[in-house]
Structure formats: structure tokens, C-alpha cells
């Protein structure tokens, strides 16, 4: 992974990449300390090497390769005949309405399901759990966490059954004499966003439960005695005290949501048409239905860059802990 920080805009991550730091420290040893150096190498670097080799070969090299083929016209059929095309793939992307549609849908999907859905519902659940009775708390926790632990495809399939025309949601709406519709056809992006909330809320709930546990009880009680109502306590005391948790949770949810593929694939295949085709599905379609590996990789690189940007912010948030 030594190449990763160099792509990131963090200035001192670049300056202190593992490579140079290592040669430097070996260089400054006097000959007397040779076997000390050897010992250090054995105890420090040898245990790191299997992990580093795996990370380099299977993550860093693909990322590097990604950055390279994004600038070629590599196709699925003609491996040997790819040539360098500069920024053509990126220009194509930003002129392609299907790509812009995918960007827009990814944005909608992320904001709806991660920022609003998982985050807010997770916080609400954690807050309610703080006050609820134990059996209800345990039951709710178990159900929400089960949804989280389920394999991605199973989750997708369960929500597919839920939203289908002949599925559970419409059965309930019929029972309530409310109009039903074919959700996966009329509002696919809403359906997959709900699915992502269903699947991902447990994580926020756990993070916020842990954060709320750490707020000293006296502070909330004092505010209560002073007559601060529930919403005011939430706004002026709880939220400011857990703001670091909010930051890291939002970041992780966003990154997670950015790379959702299986859930949407199972539920809608990105359809109907391209009405639920987020960037990962668009990338897949370009690579394998249209055989445009180079172009699909350019899209992947953009996705990776957005992810890296979030990663860097996340690192800043956690920085003091390293």
C-alpha cells in the first residue's frame, strides 16, 4: 500500500511514506551497531512483510494498474492492442448522460440512505434504547443487527420480496386501503435506498450507543433539572458531546454506501432502464456489457478518488489516535 498515500493530497503522508523512512534509519546506524540493525530488521520488518507483500501485490498494484489503464482504450476483446488515449475516457464520461445520471443517482442514494437514513435512524434508535425497557431494547437490537449480519445478496433478495408488486409492502397497503404500486419499477432508487438503510443502520446504532454510554449521566440530569426539554438537551448537550462519533460514523457510512453493488444488483440490476444505476453498476455495465475496460476503469478511478478524498478526511478525524 505504499503507493496509496502518494495519490492522496495529504502533504505529510507523502513526505513520510514507509520507503524513504526505512532507508534513512538504516543509513544512520554506525557499523558497530550492525547486528543491532539486523535484529531490528528481523523483529520489525519480518513480521510486517507477509501483510505488506499481500497489500502491495493485491491492492497497491491494482490501484496503480487502475491509474494506468484508465488512460488507455483497453477493451475486453483486444487485450494486446490497447493504446494510450490521455484524458479521452474522462472527457467521454463527463459528456455521457448515462454517466452523469449514475453520478446523480449515487449522490441521491448516498444522501438518502447513508446521511439521512442510516445516520439519523441509528442515532434515534440509540437514543430510544437508552430510555426503553430492557426486553424491548434487546429485541430491537437483535432484529436490527440480524439485518446487518445477513449476507448482502440475501438482504437484497429479502427487500426485493418486500418491494415487489405482489410483495409484503403492497399487501400491507392493500390491507390499509392505500394505493399500492410496483415500487421497484416506479421508485427504484427509493427502494434500494430503503434497502441500504435496512441493512446498514445497525452499524450507526452500535456506534451511537457506545458514544451515548460515555456521556456522564450527571450532565444530562443537571440539564433536566434546569428544565431543558428533550429536543433542547439533544441539540445543546448530546450532539455536541458525540460530534466526533458523528463525524467518523458519517464518513464510514458514506464510504460503505459508495461501494454498494450486490444489494442493488439483486434488487433491480440497475433498472428499470438506468433508474437505479449507481456508479458501481454503471462501471460494471461499461466493462462487461460494453467491453470497455479502459473506460470503465476511468470511472472506477473517479470513484476511487472520491473515496480517497473521504478517506483523507476520515484520517484527519482519527489522526490524534495513531
Amino acid at each position: 500500500m505504499t503507493t496509496a498515500p502518494r495519490q492522496a493530497p495529504g502533504p505529510d503522508a507523502t513526505a513520510s511514506a514507509p520507503g524513504p523512512a526505512l532507508t534513512q534509519s538504516a543509513h544512520h546506524q554506525s557499523p558497530r551497531n550492525d547486528h543491532r540493525t539486523l535484529r531490528r530488521v528481523l523483529t520489525h520488518l519480518l513480521p510486517l512483510s507477509p501483510a505488506v507483500i499481500l497489500l502491495l501485490l493485491f491492492l497497491a498494484v491494482p490501484i496503480g494498474y487502475c491509474a494506468y489503464i484508465a488512460f488507455t482504450d483497453l477493451q475486453l476483446t483486444g487485450q494486446a492492442h490497447s493504446s494510450f488515449v490521455g484524458f479521452a475516457n474522462f472527457r467521454t464520461a463527463f459528456k455521457d448522460t448515462e454517466f452523469l445520471n449514475a453520478v446523480w443517482l449515487t449522490l441521491v442514494f448516498t444522501v438518502l440512505s447513508s446521511l439521512v437514513g442510516q445516520n439519523t435512524l441509528g442515532l434515534a434508535l440509540a437514543t430510544l434504547m437508552h430510555r426503553a425497557s430492557k426486553p424491548v431494547r434487546t429485541l430491537t437490537g437483535a432484529i436490527v443487527i440480524t439485518a446487518w449480519v445477513l449476507p448482502e445478496v440475501v438482504a437484497g433478495f429479502l427487500l426485493y420480496a418486500f418491494f415487489r408488486r405482489e410483495g409484503t409492502l403492497n399487501a400491507i397497503l392493500d390491507w390499509l386501503h392505500l394505493p399500492s404500486q410496483n415500487w421497484l419499477f416506479t421508485l427504484p432508487i427509493l427502494a434500494v435506498s430503503f434497502a441500504n438503510v435496512w441493512r446498514g443502520t445497525a452499524f450507526s446504532m452500535l456506534v451511537y450507543s457506545a458514544a451515548l454510554d460515555e456521556i456522564p449521566q450527571e450532565i444530562t440530569e443537571a440539564a433536566e433539572v434546569d428544565g431543558a426539554g428533550g429536543w433542547r438537551r439533544m441539540w445543546h448537550i448530546t450532539l455536541p458531546m458525540i460530534r466526533r462519533s458523528i463525524g467518523t460514523n458519517l464518513m464510514l457510512n458514506t464510504l460503505q454506501t459508495l461501494s454498494v453493488f450486490g444489494l442493488i444488483w439483486v434488487m433491480t440490476r440497475g433498472g428499470p432502464g438506468d433508474k437505479s444505476q449507481t456508479l458501481p453498476l454503471y462501471m460494471y455495465e461499461q466493462a462487461f456489457q460494453n467491453s470497455m475496460i479502459g473506460y470503465a476503469t476511468a470511472v472506477a478511478l473517479l470513484l476511487l478518488l472520491v473515496g480517497s478524498l473521504f478517506s483523507v478526511i476520515y484520517m484527519r478525524l482519527l489522526r490524534t489516535e495513531v
Partner: protein, 279 residues
């Protein structure tokens, strides 16, 4: 005064209970559907009481080609992937946790950065790369990639757990002439048993449920893990037998749910991952 406070508490608790139960019911519907349908001879897509409980759906799917082979494939992929992840991350975490070095900080920052990279984004280039080096459609290629993609988070977690083991215990062993490898295996790892369990179970669960990686890297149907083969129920078999699909979902999901429960119990109900990333 005390009375009003306690009665206010009670009504607030009732409100919280009611709110939670509404959410729980909504979340439970899809889960309820899969359990009921798997036992229903005439399952369709909505939640309903089965017309007569039956295990026919399970009988129909518990066959080598439909269930056992994909589950075995999943077990091989995730078992070896997890083994590789745990061994490599334990080794890597040791110097990071035990020795001061100028390497540690940049390395850990790189790891943290890699932890949050969207793996989905690199699947197309990984596919292209695997085609070039003949790793496409091989179990070992997929295992290596699984391990590599899980490693950043595993190292991060493992290092945090290892920091919790006091160094003094090892120093005694060192004076007795134990090497650092010996003290890692004999002293540190046993003392951080729950931590190792969390990393193991978490890695396994992530790989077990992962769809996109084997979907891209494996081509031969015989090698497909359950996460991909479940997809076949939809596409290629024409009429979808929802009862069987539900039964398969239950069989496929049960191991990870049991594993999760096991680890959550062992850690006293609290969940260490939530704590490890809460910042």
C-alpha cells in the same frame, strides 16, 4: 416532586418502547418473510402464515449441486482467506504495537487510509490484472484478494487489541530468553483471545457475505460460493421457487448469524467493532 419525575420517566420509557417496537416490526417483516416462506409449500412474495408447515423446501435444496458445493466453496474461500488475514495481521500488528519505530506512524496512517478505500471501485482493474497474470477463475487468486482487501482493517483492529496487553508480561519472557515470535504466540495472542476472535469472525463474516469479489474473479460454476450461486435462482432457473430460495437463504445465512452471536456473547453483549471505530 419525586413522584412526577418518576412518572415522567415511566411515560418516557413507554414512548421509547413504542417507538422502538414500530421500527423493530418494520425491520422484522423481511426477516419474518424468509423464515415463514422457507417452511411454506406455497410460498410467494408476501409475509403470510404457511398453509401447513413443511420441510420440503429444505429437502429440495439440500443437494450437492444446489447447496453443498457452493457452501463448501464459500467455506474454502472464506476459511483460507480468514486464516491468511488473521496470521498476517497478527504478525504485522506485533511490531506496530510493541516497538517504537519511525515506520509505525506512516504505516498505520496508510493502513487507515486503505481501510476506507471503496474496494468495489478496483474490481474492474483487478479483473483485468488477474486475466493478465492467469489468476482469473482460480480459488487461490480470490483467496489472496479477499485477504488483502480485509487486511487493512484487520491490522488496525488487531493493533488496537494488542495495545491492551501489558508489555511487562512479555518482558519477563524476554529475560528468560524467549524470542519476540515466541512471546507473540505464547503470551500476547492468548491474552488477547477475544480480540483475535473478533478479527477472525469479522473477517469471515465479511468474506462470507461478499458478492462482488467472487462474482468478478470466478467464472466456473463449480467454483462459485453461495453468495454468487444464490443469484442463479433468479436468472437461469426460469420459474422462481420462492420457498426454495428462502430455504437456501436461511441455510446460507445461519452460520454467520451464529458466529456473530457467539462473539457478541463472549464480549459481554457489547460490540468491540463499534468501539474500535467510534473515534
Amino acid at each position: 416532586m419525586a413522584l412526577t419525575v418518576s412518572s415522567r420517566r415511566k411515560s418516557r420509557r413507554l414512548a421509547a418502547d413504542a417507538g422502538l417496537l414500530v421500527v423493530a416490526a418494520t425491520f422484522a417483516l423481511p426477516l419474518l418473510w424468509v423464515v415463514l416462506s422457507s417452511l411454506d409449500a406455497h410460498a410467494d412474495l408476501k409475509v403470510k402464515a404457511p398453509d401447513g408447515l413443511t420441510l420440503d423446501n429444505f429437502h429440495a435444496i439440500l443437494k450437492p449441486d444446489i447447496t453443498f458445493t457452493p457452501l463448501l466453496n464459500s467455506l474454502i474461500l472464506c476459511g483460507f482467506g480468514t486464516l491468511l488475514t488473521v496470521v498476517c495481521s497478527a504478525l504485522a500488528a506485533y511490531p506496530l504495537s510493541r516497538f517504537r519505530s519511525r515506520l509505525n506512524r506512516p504505516f498505520l496512517l496508510t493502513i487507515l487510509f486503505a481501510t476506507s478505500l471503496p474496494i468495489t471501485a478496483i474490481m474492474v482493474p483487478v479483473y483485468a490484472l488477474f486475466v493478465q497474470v492467469n489468476l482469473i477463475d482460480t480459488m487461490q487468486g480470490t483467496i489472496f484478494f479477499f485477504a488483502a482487501s480485509q487486511l487493512p482493517f484487520a491490522i488496525w483492529l488487531m493493533k488496537n487489541f494488542m495495545d491492551g496487553v501489558p508489555k511487562e508480561l512479555e518482558e519477563a519472557a524476554w529475560t528468560d530468553g524467549a524470542s519476540s515470535f515466541q512471546s507473540l504466540v505464547r503470551i500476547v495472542l492468548p491474552l488477547m483471545g477475544p480480540g483475535v476472535a473478533v478479527v477472525t469472525v469479522f473477517s469471515f463474516v465479511m468474506m462470507w457475505g461478499n458478492f462482488f469479489v467472487p462474482f468478478m474473479l470466478l467464472l466456473t460454476p463449480d467454483q462459485m460460493p453461495a453468495s454468487v450461486s444464490i443469484n442463479e435462482f433468479f436468472g437461469n432457473r426460469g420459474m422462481v421457487a420462492y420457498g426454495q430460495l428462502a430455504a437456501f437463504s436461511v441455510v446460507y445465512s445461519t452460520p454467520v448469524i451464529l458466529l456473530y452471536v457467539l462473539v457478541a456473547r463472549r464480549l459481554g453483549g457489547g460490540f468491540a467493532l463499534g468501539g474500535a471505530v467510534k473515534g
